[in-house]
C-alpha cells in the first residue's frame, strides 16, 4: 500500500526488551499507540522523533528515509520534520510562553520578529494570547499543555507526536483539553501518532488504534473493530468485555474442557467469544429447562461498578458479571458462594482468532 506519509517498522532491541512495531500513517490521519505501561510505546515515539536510533527496520516520511540501520541512514532529531508534545511538556523554564513557541521557528531560520509573530498566531489558535508573557511555572497544567502543542505545531511538522498528552492533567481539565486537542489534531494536515495508556483518549482522539503489548502489535483497527472484537485480555479489559478463546464448531465454541458456549455466528477453528459483563445473569439454582450457556460458578469477589455490582466469578470460566442492585438483593453475593451463571446466545459475539 502506498500513499502513506509515514511508513515505519520500529525495531529497537535494548537488553531484554524488544520492540517491533510496523506503523503506517496517512496524511491527516491520527493513530493512537495504545498499550499498558512498559509496552514500548514511548520507545516507539522516541524512535520516530530521532531520540532513539532503530536497531532494525526503517522510518520513512514522505518517501525519504529518516532512519534505516541496514543502509546506515540516520537523520538526527533536529533535521526531522517532526513535532513532539512530551508527557510533561518540557517547556523551557527560562523562556515565556511566546518564546517557547517561537523557539522552533527561530531554529528553522525565521528571524526573531517573524518567529514571534508566528508564535503569537499559534498561541491565539490555542486561545492563550493573554498568557504569552508568562513563564511555564505560571501556567496551569492545561495551559502548559496547549503551549506545548502550539510549540510542536509551530514548526509545521510532517509528523506530530504526542506522548500521553493528557496524563498529567486532572480529570476536569482533561475533559476540556481532550475536546480541544481533538479539534487541533483534526486540523493538522500531517500524520499524527499519539501514545497513550488511556483507552478513552485513544478512542476520542484517534482515527485508528494500534495496540501494543510487550513490544508487539496485538491488534489494530478503528474504534468499532477494537471495542467489539478485542483480541487480547488487555484490550478486552480496556473496553470492558469478557473475552474467551476456544475451538469453534458450527455455532458453538468450546471455551473450557466441560463448557461449550452457543453463539449466533457459524464458524470453525480457533475463535474468540466476547460478551458484556451486564449480559451475564446470576441465579441461586440451575435455571429450569437447562438452557444453553449456563454453568456453575463460585463468587471470587464483589465490587461497586457504577450503579451496579461487579461480581468476579471463578469456575470453568473466569468472568465478570454486572448485577443490578435489585437482583443483588435476592442473591447471597459473598465470596465462596456457589451460583449459576447464564449468558443469552444473542448477547454473545464470536469471531475467528486466527
Amino acid at each position: 500500500m502506498t500513499g502513506h506519509l509515514l511508513d515505519a517498522r520500529l525495531a529497537v532491541e535494548r537488553g531484554d526488551f524488544r520492540l517491533d512495531v510496523p506503523l503506517r500513517v496517512a496524511a491527516g490521519e491520527v493513530v493512537a499507540l495504545l498499550g499498558p505501561n512498559g509496552a514500548g510505546k514511548t520507545t516507539a515515539l522516541r524512535a520516530l522523533a530521532g531520540l532513539q536510533p532503530l536497531t532494525a527496520g526503517h522510518i520513512t516520511v514522505a518517501g525519504s528515509d529518516l532512519d534505516r540501520p541496514d543502509r546506515r541512514r540516520f537523520v538526527p532529531a533536529e533535521h526531522r520534520s517532526v513535532g513532539v508534545v512530551f508527557q510533561d511538556y518540557l517547556l523551557f523554564p527560562h523562556l515565556n510562553a511566546l518564546d517557547n513557541v517561537a523557539f522552533g521557528p527561530r531554529r528553522h531560520g525565521a528571524n526573531r520578529r517573524t518567529a514571534r509573530r508566528s508564535a503569537g498566531e499559534w498561541l491565539a489558535r490555542v486561545g492563550l494570547v493573554e498568557h504569552a508573557r508568562r513563564r511555564p511555572g505560571q501556567l496551569s497544567g492545561g495551559q502548559a499543555q496547549r503551549v506545548a502543542l502550539a510549540r510542536a505545531l509551530a514548526v509545521r511538522p510532517a509528523v506530530l507526536l504526542l506522548d500521553e498528552p493528557l496524563a498529567a492533567l486532572d480529570a476536569r481539565t482533561r475533559l476540556d483539553t481532550r475536546a480541544e486537542l481533538h479539534r487541533h489534531l483534526a486540523a493538522h494536515p500531517g500524520a499524527t501518532v499519539l501514545v497513550t495508556h488511556d483507552p478513552l483518549d485513544a478512542l476520542v482522539l484517534a482515527d485508528r488504534l494500534v495496540i501494543v503489548e510487550e513490544g508487539r502489535v496485538v491488534q489494530e483497527g478503528d474504534a468499532a473493530a477494537v471495542t467489539t472484537r478485542p483480541r487480547t485480555d488487555y484490550v478486552a479489559q480496556l473496553v470492558g468485555l469478557n473475552l474467551h478463546r476456544g475451538q469453534a464448531e458450527n455455532n458453538s465454541v468450546r471455551v473450557a474442557d466441560d463448557l461449550l458456549l452457543t453463539v449466533p455466528e457459524h464458524l470453525d477453528g480457533d475463535a474468540f467469544v466476547a460478551f458484556r459483563p451486564s449480559a451475564v445473569a446470576l441465579h441461586d439454582d440451575q435455571p429450569a429447562g437447562s438452557p444453553p450457556n449456563t454453568w456453575p460458578a463460585t463468587i471470587a469477589g464483589v465490587q461497586r461498578h457504577g450503579d451496579n455490582l461487579r461480581v468476579q466469578l471463578d469456575g470453568p470460566l473466569r468472568v465478570a458479571a454486572d448485577v443490578p442492585p435489585a437482583t443483588a438483593a435476592t442473591l447471597r453475593l459473598i465470596p465462596g458462594q456457589r451460583v449459576w451463571a447464564a449468558v443469552r446466545v444473542t448477547e454473545t459475539h464470536a469471531y475467528p482468532a486466527g
Partner: protein, 281 residues
C-alpha cells in the same frame, strides 16, 4: 575564605512555641567548642577592624600603589574568570555529558590544582610556560612572547588555581539538569551547539553563576602561584595579596588597609552569592 559555612535553613525546622526540648538543652561539650570555633574564625577579622587606622584611611586608600594593586587584582581576577569560563564550561560539559575512557582520571586531574600547594603550581607553570619551559620556549622563539613576570602571567596563575572551582560547580549543575529539555530542543530543530547556548546554559545558569563567583573570589585571593610564576612587580604583577605581604614588612598600617579592602570585597561577593542561591527556585 570558605563559602561552605552558609547552610540555608529550612523553614520547617522552626519549633512551635511551648514545645518540649528547649534550645538550652544543647550539651556544653558541643556548645563550648562551637563557640571557640566561631571565635577562632571571627577574632582575626575583628582584630583587623580594631587595628585599622580609620583616621588616615582616606589618604591611604588614595595612594597610587594601593589603587594600582586593587585595579590589577580586579582586572586579573576578572580576566582569569573569563578564561576559566571559556575553557572550564566546555570541560565541565565534557565531563558531565560525554562517556569516554579515562573520564574518572580526567576528573581527578582537573581537581589536582585544588589540593596542590599554589607555590608548587607556580613552579609547575614556570616549568611549562617559562622561557625555557616546554611551551614557553617555543612561544618565546616563535612569537617573542613570554608569560612569566607579566600581567598575562598573573591571569594564567590565577586561572590555574581557580578553574577547578568553576569546573566542579558547573559539572554538578549539568549533571543535575534535566537532559530531556535538550531533547525537546532537538525536536524543535536546534543543533547541539544552539541547544547548548540556548537551553543548557540558561538551565544551569544559577550553578554557572555560583561557580564563576567562587572562581573569581579564589582568583582574587591567589598568592602563591602568582608570586612564583609572575613575580611581584608593582603595577604589572603585584596584586592585592602580594601588596599585603610586601607591605607587612615595611608598613603594617598599609598592610591592614589593603587587607581591609580585600575583606570588604570578599564579603560583598559572599553576600551576592548567598542572594543568588536563595533566590534560585
Amino acid at each position: 575564605m570558605t563559602l561552605i559555612d552558609q547552610p540555608v535553613r529550612p523553614a520547617s525546622s522552626r519549633r512551635p512555641r511551648g514545645a518540649r526540648r528547649p534550645d538550652s538543652g544543647v550539651p556544653v561539650a558541643l556548645l563550648l567548642p562551637a563557640l571557640l570555633g566561631l571565635a577562632f574564625l571571627t577574632l582575626p577579622l575583628i582584630g583587623l577592624l580594631a587595628r585599622t587606622p580609620w583616621s588616615t584611611l582616606p589618604q591611604r586608600l588614595a595612594e597610587p600603589g594601593v589603587l594600582a594593586a586593587l585595579r590589577l587584582s580586579l582586572l586579573t581576577a576578572t580576566l582569569a574568570t573569563l578564561l576559566c569560563l571559556l575553557l572550564g564550561v566546555p570541560l565541565a560539559w565534557l565531563l558531565a555529558r560525554v562517556e569516554f575512557p579515562g573520564r574518572r582520571l580526567v576528573r581527578a586531574l582537573v581537581t589536582v590544582p585544588l589540593v596542590l600547594p599554589p607555590v608548587v603550581g607556580g613552579v609547575a607553570l614556570l616549568l611549562v610556560f617559562g622561557r625555557r619551559g616546554l611551551i614557553g620556549g617555543w612561544l618565546d622563539q616563535t612569537f617573542g612572547f613570554t608569560l612569566p613576570f607579566t600581567t598575562a602571567g598573573v591571569v594564567f596563575a590565577e586561572a590555574f588555581v581557580a578553574m577547578p572551582f568553576l569546573v566542579i560547580a558547573v559539572e554538578g549543575a549539568l549533571r543535575g539538569a534535566d537532559r530531556r529539555y535538550e531533547e525537546a530542543a532537538a525536536t524543535l530543530g536546534a543543533g547541539r551547539w544552539t541547544t547548548f547556548t540556548h537551553v543548557t546554559v540558561p538551565l544551569v545558569g544559577p550553578g554557572l553563576a555560583a561557580g564563576a563567583v567562587l572562581c573569581w573570589a579564589r582568583a582574587l585571593g591567589e598568592f602563591g602561584a602568582t608570586i612564583t610564576f609572575a613575580g611581584n612587580y608593582p603595577g604589572r604583577t603585584q596584586t592585592m595579596p602580594l601588596a599585603v605581604y610586601l607591605a607587612l614588612e615595611t608598613d603594617v598600617e598599609a598592610a591592614i588597609v589593603l587587607s581591609l579592602i580585600l575583606l570588604v570585597v570578599s564579603v560583598v561577593i559572599l553576600a551576592g552569592l548567598r542572594d543568588r542561591w536563595i533566590n534560585t527556585p
